[in-house]
Symmetry: C2
Subunit: 569 residues, 2 copies
């Protein structure tokens, strides 16, 4: 029997659920309601609209083949009725109807439903500080704000921008403003790293170093206390000082828009996400919800996770559409895959980083590999950095993060692991991943395979490693004299280091180590260093064999130091 | 207790097994034997050496950081003894020793072993035709031949080249010769498609059309009967005619080099592969084998498969190294992942294509999707084509193939699926793959997710499709008058087709279909067409709803026709 379906929210999940359902049940009726008249746009494209990569806001609202996804499109192409400029005020679950108001005419009415879909999305987290309402202060929450930001920039009113928040939207905005508009941009981040929660501190350092090289300034562990200006914002007062800013972008995260659901008595999580089961049903089985307004299960921890991403919304939308039509499609949960472009880098991850893994109670280690992204003899190539988090004991892979040059190489590696994370792979599964091989695309032993093997060697206690931040500590304390930095590369590479730091830096190429073992200091801790950590691992094994065991191997080697911004010579 | 390990063969698997073993058991002794003095080179780089992308043969033999992997390298850096120019003549399994001969001095001797590793690799399949020994006829089997090919080209002796075999080495060679050297190249292939066994005929057509556009000529379903010339090859006589050729490259596949193993009484497969268990042990538990000389299990069919690839060899080598040291590492088998660059295209696959799946007895369908490889509003993007093979009934994914522009986008999608194939995923798993999302890297509904969904719709009978080759047949028979080609795109797109084929091509944009349903012919089969097959699928649903059921949807739409080379207007 044909149904009456009402969808509240017409961006991402709402349209997807509505269209899928209508394809399965063309005879049923769907009404989609949205407060705005701009609907079904790709909100994740906003930074690219602001940068100018996307010139017209309409492009974000088009299909691949240039049809505008407006009210008329949904009517004609999808047989879906859309009420724009219409707010859903409340849900009467008893009577199964939604109380709506036309925001243009002020007219109130009700929409009956058999099934209801909540696609109410998220809203940017607000900063409750003085001056937040000054002119020139924005969030990146919707197309209207995006258009206002771009107009302000294009009219030449912006010389200095402050971005509050070093998450991925903050970084995308910093790039857009710096790269395309030449605006002096400063990112203030309250934690001690960029992309907190998403990648490890060591990886974040690589991203920061790259962005600093492109002219973006950062103030970490800093908090904006108030904004000041005469009507228009002029400066920010932070715990670290004063930052001149004629534009401020607040990008401190998003939170679920669940007021309507809460008022209707649906179950809401402590984080304000609408609670849904694996069929995307709320606590009322006739009401579905998905996208930015819900929480789903994190497949690594088994706990609720919050993933406000257009890709999640689209996939969940289809599942809701199927289930509305009586299907039984399930959303298993998420592993938090993400990718972001920052200037010439791509940064991607899935699952837990080492800090999150430990705070979730996992006894975890992290392995880091820096290796060429394709055959080292192939002319076009670049070093890629991958870090994998593994549980001790079980060898279970908990997450992976990567930083590489632009293009799809890094995200491709992350996706290969993201795809299998739900099967609880071990290091051996990663070491054995059957990635398609040819010199223009990968090394015979791809960096992912190498990463699996490295993690296995670390777990086995054969490769005893330090990260760059540990190295940095040891290096700062080098005058204590209890540590020697042993360079295992050829003399040509080691020479400038030895010349600059003759008391601390020693050179014995790995292939000469057996013969020159007498030169190795026996009473000191040795930090073994090579280009990327491979030869120094070989050196560690040789030293172990020779009974010299107080060694550690710098993961990623000198390449990691450089990417981190620790230039010793 | 330290062991005595002998490794026969010092390219790819041999060195990998030897080095891994020595890292685990530094006190054991390893001797590696090779007929050649050029060892441990990346043979898969040969086409790039010939093209000139790699200028010096030494580059293929170097580590990432420019150390030459020669005899001295293995001695110094790895503590591994290498006997170059030394042939293993026979294995005495009773006495556990290998009879070897120094090819320079002629001296015979024996090497005792506790454990033996066979890394004897493959050899190119020979063509038993007249003229095969003429000067200018080559295989791409080793560095010596590669150097000879390049010298011959560089000396200006080659104007026309014939490549026998349209597998991936044949195509790589065709590109190298055409693109970098401007040699007129013809590929003769005995089957009716390029990359037979690797991708479907429809996908192969896309590759062929692209290569033809770059100036490579193809003769399919053609066989070279003999080569002619006066000492030097001058022409080939094929079943299809005469081809002028002052160079001939034979690339008709490789076969395992298992003579030594066979002579030693080890179990050999009907295809001449050395039979190994999952620990890579031969039928003699003290003898391991891996790489191009063995067969491993195809994880889709459960039958033996042959994958002569450097990546396989490296991974298997590590497993052998672990097991030599008393470990218990297993090689689960393979899914046949591969990727090849052909001019501006990358072609990748994993698992079975539709033809192989059917010949293996699977009741399978294939779904094809053409979609932008990233957000359609992102400025740099390109259409990618993916085809997935799925078992009817179970929905189990049997394989995937992709063709896209250069870069890592296509191989990244294939790898995401290759990684999970061993877990027997279904279409729903693909529809729900959590690929990292951001507009510069993917669409919110990534092409892979769309592919999973499309396959599901086909299996459910909701999307009834034809491929371009079916379309081609229907189009050729259009004068019969029982088929109408219904263009579901906007009039602007459809107009030139309608004008050129007024009797066969009709235009009703999908969003007008409900209103103009009276115009739809009721007594004819309808072939529904749009840009990529998405709107025509919507049209099919509407027509079904209206009781017009004799329709089929062209997978990939007009985009597929163009890529295939079927330009109707």
């Amino acid at each position: 029997m044909p149904k009456n379906v009402v969808v509240i929210g017409a961006v991402a999940l709402g349209p997807k659920a509505a269209c899928r359902f209508k394809r399965l049940e063309p005879d049923s009726r769907v009404v989609m309601v949205d407060k705005d008249h701009l609907i079904s746009y790709g909100g994740c494209g906003i930074p690219y609209f602001i940068s100018g990569d996307v010139s017209d806001p309409g492009q974000l609202q088009e299909t691949s083949f240039h049809m505008l996804r407006d009210k008329e499109f949904f009517q004609g192409a999808k047989d879906i009725e859309v009420l724009i400029n219409t707010e859903a005020l409340s849900i009467d679950r008893q009577e199964k109807r939604v109380h709506i108001q036309n925001l243009t005419t002020g007219e109130d009415t009700t929409l009956p439903y058999d099934k209801l879909v909540l696609a109410t999305g998220s809203r940017p987290r607000r900063l409750d500080i003085l001056g937040i309402d000054l002119e020139g202060v924005f969030a990146v929450s919707n197309m209207h704000e995006a258009i206002a930001i771009k107009e302000r920039i294009a009219s030449g009113q912006v010389e200095n921008a402050l971005i509050i928040g070093g998450g991925f939207i903050g970084l995308e905005m910093a790039e857009a403003l710096t790269d395309m508009w030449g605006i002096e941009s400063t990112v203030v981040e309250i934690t001690d790293q960029l992309l907190p929660g998403l990648i490890s501190k060591n990886m974040a350092k690589i991203v920061q170093h790259h962005m600093e090289g492109q002219g973006v300034a950062f103030q970490l562990e800093d908090r904006v206390e108030r904004l000041e200006g005469n009507k228009k914002v002029e400066r920010a007062i932070t715990t670290g000082g004063i930052i001149a800013a004629d534009m401020v972008i607040v990008a401190v995260g998003a939170e679920p828009n669940s007021d309507l659901a809460r008022a209707a008595g649906l179950e809401i999580s402590p984080r304000s996400g609408i609670v849904v089961n694996s069929r995307m049903q709320t606590s009322d089985p006739d009401i579905y919800a998905g996208g930015d307004c819900v929480e789903v299960t994190n497949l690594i921890t088994g706990k609720p996770g919050y993933y406000p991403l257009g890709s999640m919304a689209n996939r969940q939308g289809r599942i809701i559409g199927t289930n509305l039509a009586g299907g039984n499609s399930e959303f298993p949960g998420g592993v938090g895959s993400f990718v972001v472009k920052v200037f010439e880098l791509s940064v991607a991850a899935a699952g837990l980083n080492i800090d999150v893994a430990r705070s979730e109670g996992f006894d975890a280690i992290s392995a880091l590999v820096i290796q060429f992204d394709r055959a080292h003899f192939y002319p076009e190539k670049d070093l890629m950095t991958l870090e994998m988090v593994v549980e001790r004991g079980t060898g279970r892979v908990l997450g992976i993060q990567g930083v590489g040059s632009m293009g799809d190489g890094t995200v491709g590696r992350i996706n290969a692991v993201a795809s299998i994370l739900k099967y609880s792979p071990t290091t051996e599964d990663i070491g054995n991943l059957e990635l398609a091989y040819s010199p223009p695309f990968s090394a015979a032993m791809d960096i992912l395979n190498a990463l699996g093997n490295t993690a296995e060697n670390i777990l086995a206690g054969k490769n005893r490693v330090v990260d760059v931040d540990d190295f940095d500590e040891l290096w700062k304390q080098r005058e204590k004299g209890d540590v020697v930095f042993l360079d295992c590369r050829g003399w040509g590479n080691a020479e400038p280091f030895v010349e600059k730091y003759p008391d601390h830096w020693q050179s014995i190429p790995q292939d000469e180590l057996r013969l020159r073992i007498a030169e190795v200091p026996k009473d000191k801790k040795l930090v073994l260093i090579c280009n990327t950590g491979v030869r120094s691992y070989e050196a560690q094994i040789t030293l172990d064999q020779m009974g010299i065991g107080d060694t550690c191997n710098l993961q990623g080697g000198v390449a990691a130091l450089k990417k981190w911004g620790l230039d010793l010579v």
